[in-house]
């Protein structure tokens, strides 16, 4: 799981939890579930009374006189807005590796363009027997990139042998050429629609 996947899922779970809890609380108040099902919510919570307004003007302006109120409101709203903006912008980038740091060149830092390595792997993968097309993208940071391979098999090819060839050929070569000990790869396999040779 990439960092973005983990962040997205954590934030989605957080938003979902807040929505679920808030909705459940209002629903329990509106349907008087606190009395009917003896939920044990504090009786002085106005949200537990069905005939109470959702948010009265007095409740809304209750802390307006307190010195902490406005700084808190502005800080919370600003933080939420900026966090959402950052979250949104994080979805727009494709997460590609710009440059790969070659580990064996500690004295003279050598950077390899991610696209170049990806293209080299894709070209070699495309020439494997049974592969019609191969697309490769490098994702992740410069020190621990991982490859995402989209393989389109020629009609009649089986995935197993092709994946073995991919692992032993292009990916092993990329590891050897760059010195990256771990170059993990995700391969998504599809099949080219092709004419079927009928045996009659």
């Amino acid at each position: 799981m990439t960092a973005r996947t983990a962040i997205n899922r954590t934030l989605l779970a957080l938003v979902g939890l807040v929505l679920l809890a808030g909705g459940a609380l209002l629903l329990a108040g509106g349907l008087d579930l606190n009395h009917r099902w003896h939920l044990g919510l504090p009786a002085d919570w106005t949200v537990t009374h069905p005939h109470h307004a959702v948010l009265t003007a007095a409740e809304r302006t209750r802390w307006r006189g307190s010195p902490w109120w406005w700084p808190t409101v502005f800080a919370a709203l600003t933080a939420t807005t900026l966090l959402s903006l950052w979250w949104l912008l994080a979805q727009l980038s494709r997460g590609r590796t710009g440059e790969v740091t070659l580990p064996d060149t500690a004295d003279v830092p050598v950077l390899l363009r991610g696209g170049t390595l990806a293209k080299a792997v894709a070209d070699e993968a495309g020439r494997l027997p049974g592969v019609a097309r191969a697309r490769v993208r490098l994702l992740g940071g410069p020190r621990r990139p991982h490859a995402r391979v989209a393989l389109t098999l020629a009609p009649g090819a089986a995935p197993g042998p092709v994946l073995r060839d991919l692992s032993d050929g292009p990916l092993a070569d990329a590891r050897a050429a760059t010195g990256l000990a771990r170059l993990l790869a995700d391969a998504r396999v599809r099949v080219e629609p092709g004419p079927v040779s009928r045996v009659r």
Partner: protein, 212 residues
């Protein structure tokens, strides 16, 4: 057809729809053969949630700054405040909105906790290092369909592959139906192994005669 040995017994082919007996699903002690699914990044839902959240928070922030700098509140803010102050909790709209919020929250939690990418079936990692692979369901269907059409006597075939089950409908053009069925079942069982999936789908074969 490249994989599979001709010496496989038809009995295995007929009975070989259970996953427990399948060698491809067992741990071979060398590579890990767990059914590691691909996890979706949930980019679209995250972008939508971020957009709605940021829009709402930004609008409120703007409005508060606008009011603090000596302006009168906009009409939408007055209406929201008025609605919140005058609608009771047992108002139909409030109950409907709460129910929607509950459902939405539950849906987001489900999205956060499930892998998604249901169109990808995990492939067994045999003899590979550092490669995690998955086969698209449509590709699996195309391979099964191809295998079915190559059977002598089969005029046409359709295959659909679900996450657990596959359905192959074959139209028999000539020959004895039962013979064709036996051959088809055997070849499909072989193709099922050639797919190389961690959890190969059970194949349900249906045979029809030609309509014309």
């Amino acid at each position: 057809m490249t994989a599979g040995t001709p010496a496989e017994t038809p009995a295995d082919a007929l009975a070989g729809t259970g996953t427990a007996t399948d060698p491809a699903a067992q741990h071979d002690g060398v590579g890990t053969l767990r059914a590691r699914r691909f996890w979706s990044a949930r980019r679209n839902v995250a972008a939508l949630a971020a957009l709605v959240l940021g829009g709402a928070a930004g609008a409120l922030l703007y409005e508060e700054i606008y009011i603090q700098s000596g302006h009168r509140a906009h009409a939408w803010r007055l209406r929201v405040a008025d609605d919140l102050a005058h609608r009771h909790l047992d108002d139909h709209w409030v109950i409907a909105a709460s129910a929607v919020a509950c459902a939405l929250g539950l849906w987001l939690l489900v999205l956060a906790a499930t892998p998604g990418l249901r169109r990808l079936l995990p492939l067994a990692a045999v003899g590979t290092t550092g490669v995690r692979a998955a086969l698209e369901r449509r590709a699996a269907a195309a391979m099964l369909q191809r295998a079915a059409i190559e059977v002598p006597g089969v005029h046409d075939a359709r295959a659909t592959v679900g996450r657990r089950k596959a359905k192959v409908q074959a139209v028999v053009g000539f020959g004895d139906r039962e013979e064709v069925r036996a051959l088809l079942t055997e070849l499909l069982a072989r193709e099922r192994k050639a797919l190389g999936l961690v959890r190969p789908p059970m194949i349900n074969v249906k045979i029809r005669g030609r309509s014309r």
